[in-house]
């Protein structure tokens, strides 16, 4: 079940997520063409790539939101695309997913957003306990006094935090971040990057961070992978990846640090 791969990088524990020969295309346009990936326990893996390179598709397949055309995706030893609905739901409880636009439920307040999954999974939890847990997590994320606000009243950074709070409340073992700094100003981005590291330390989560923001990749990534044309072309630490004359890598770096 859990085949150990210890080939370089920061890997020093169990393989939590294992992807082998993953193919995915949309209406005959190939997006992923043979992706292999191993993510080890409690490491932060950053997947870099241009927009539309299929980064988001990769983590959505890992989360079971999309079905792969071919390949094996195992999360905590379970093959995601073969799971039954109930089993998948059980697995997803262990996975936190921060969506690109935070994906807060528009029609619900911050509190309702956070308690949405709680009240469905911890049915025996008293209302006061739920409120306490929510207040706690909001405090720890610097979101005091937002409980009864609607998502439309929040700033972009606050939304990301609520999105993180919404997943953390279920104590996930794996965190998947889809463009955590997308659409945020640099200052807020730095805050979110710190938050990602904090979460990893505090909850000991295994994370995959999808981004095209090199600052984010540099600060949060234990290991960086570069996705290009549906394949990983480089992997290693941030410095290792960009210590290269590969045009595809250089152009990426040049754009981000042009000044």
């Amino acid at each position: 079940m859990q085949d150990k791969h210890k080939d370089g990088g920061m890997g020093n524990g169990e393989v939590v997520i294992s992807v082998r020969g993953l193919y995915k295309s949309f209406e005959d346009i190939p997006v992923l063409e043979g992706v292999d990936l191993d993510v080890y326990n409690s490491e932060n893996v950053v997947v870099l790539g241009r927009s539309g390179s299929g980064k988001s598709v990769l983590i959505k397949i890992i989360a079971g939101l999309l079905k792969p055309d071919a390949g094996v995706v195992k999360v905590m030893g379970e093959q995601v695309d073969k799971l039954k609905k109930k089993e998948l739901r059980q697995l997803r409880l262990k996975i936190g997913f921060l969506f690109q636009g935070s994906a807060l439920y528009d029609s619900m307040t911050v509190k309702e957003n956070i308690e949405f999954s709680m009240v469905r999974h911890f049915k025996n939890m008293a209302a006061s306990e739920v409120s306490k847990a929510i207040a706690e997590i909001l405090d720890s994320l610097g979101l005091e006094h937002t409980e009864n606000k609607m998502p439309s009243e929040l700033s972009g950074g606050q939304k990301k935090r609520v999105g993180i709070a919404r997943t953390l409340i279920l104590h996930p073992e794996i965190m998947l971040y889809d463009e955590p700094t997308g659409g945020l100003d640099p200052v807020t981005s730095v805050e979110i990057n710190e938050l990602i590291n904090e979460v990893q330390k505090k909850y000991n989560t295994t994370s995959i961070i999808i981004t095209h923001d090199l600052t984010c990749a540099k600060t949060t990534g234990d290991r960086v992978l570069m996705l290009h044309d549906g394949k990983f072309i480089r992997q290693g630490s941030f410095e290792e990846v960009f210590d290269s004359n590969d045009e595809r890598v250089k152009s990426f770096y040049d754009y981000n640090f042009i000044q």
Partner: protein
């Protein structure tokens, strides 16, 4: 938050209950009107013609709705057997010698069954009783009478044909022809029939006219909605035709009568009668008038006119006259 949730629940509950209440009130209002919740007995009646009566039509007794028609079925016996549900409460007022007839609840309204009469001596109706049916005058009957009139008119033309044929065949001398008692009486009977037809037709026409004039509010929505416009326009056309026919018949009748009287008039010499241009012209106009009467008549009359027999006959007569004078 909780209170707003509860408020919504309360509003939805209230909203739903009022909605359901409206629904139930509707059900009970309908139930009251369609005597769904009223116990009924079933009574039968047989009609030769129910004029489009269908299940669900109302049954009236002395102008009060007492029940509905349950079923209409061809019984095989004479005509149609209908079953009526009559409310138990109303039964006690209807006696089993009452009669049923088909009517309508308005000028062009729904068909209804009207129960009427019944004497207090007879027992009241029970479940399964059969009520005697009475035939009502219907539009169809009117049309039937009209058809009979048409046939009569046909007979008249037939008679005239016979006359002309006899003349043409030269059955006996003209004197004999004109003396012929049977001819005179024939003519007389023709006159009678025509008169009768004319009276009948006029009556029907006026019936139909009043019937249709009520319908005739031109372009009126209800009219168009409720009646079949094609039937209506046909009916109107028919009325106009009949009116024409009736006028023609009246003229014909008058003419024929004069002719008949002339023949009968013993004071006039027969020769004078025959030479009488007036009489000849009369006969011609009779034929002409009849010709314009109806299409059916037309066909026969045209045949009559086209063989020129009469004209030929009169021309011959004139010539003979001229000779005799010389």
């Amino acid at each position: 938050m909780k209170s707003s949730k509860n408020k919504k629940a309360v509003i939805v509950g209230l909203f739903s209950i009022v909605g359901i209440a409206i629904f139930l009130v509707g059900v009970f209002a309908l139930g009251g009107q369609h005597s769904l919740f009223v116990t009924t007995i079933t009574v039968k009646a047989s009609f030769t013609d129910v004029n489009g009566l269908t299940a669900g039509n109302n049954v009236w007794f002395e102008g009060v709705k007492v029940g509905t028609v349950k079923s209409v079925s061809l019984s095989g016996k004479p005509g149609v057997e209908i079953q009526m549900n009559i409310g138990k409460k109303s039964c006690q007022y209807i006696h089993n010698d009452a009669k049923a007839k088909i009517g309508s609840d308005g000028l062009i309204g729904n068909r209804i069954v009207i129960i009427m009469g019944g004497t207090a001596d007879s027992p009241v109706i029970k479940d399964g009783d059969i009520i005697e049916a009475e035939k009502a005058l219907t539009t169809d009957d009117l049309v039937n009478t009209l058809q009979k009139n048409n046939l009569n008119l046909l007979d008249i033309t037939g008679d005239l044909k016979t006359i002309s044929r006899r003349i043409a065949n030269g059955e006996g001398t003209i004197g004999k022809l004109l003396k012929d008692e049977s001819l005179v009486s024939n003519l007389q009977s023709v006159v009678d029939i025509v008169k009768q037809a004319s009276v009948n037709t006029r009556q029907i026409t006026s019936n139909l006219e009043s019937y249709s004039s009520k319908l005739e509010a031109k372009g009126s929505f209800a009219n168009d909605l409720v009646t079949d416009t094609i039937i209506f326009s046909k009916l109107r056309e028919t009325v106009i035709h009949i009116r024409e026919i009736s006028k023609t018949i009246a003229v014909v009748a008058a003419d024929l009568q004069t002719a008949g009287e002339n023949i009968n008039d013993s004071s006039k010499p027969i020769g004078a009668l025959i030479h009488d241009r007036e009489a000849a012209d009369n006969l011609k106009t009779i034929l002409k008038n009849l010709a314009s009467g109806s299409h059916k008549l037309d066909e026969d009359l045209e045949a009559l006119q086209h063989n020129f027999l009469l004209r030929g006959f009169f021309r011959k007569k004139e010539k003979e006259e001229a000779k005799a004078k010389k």
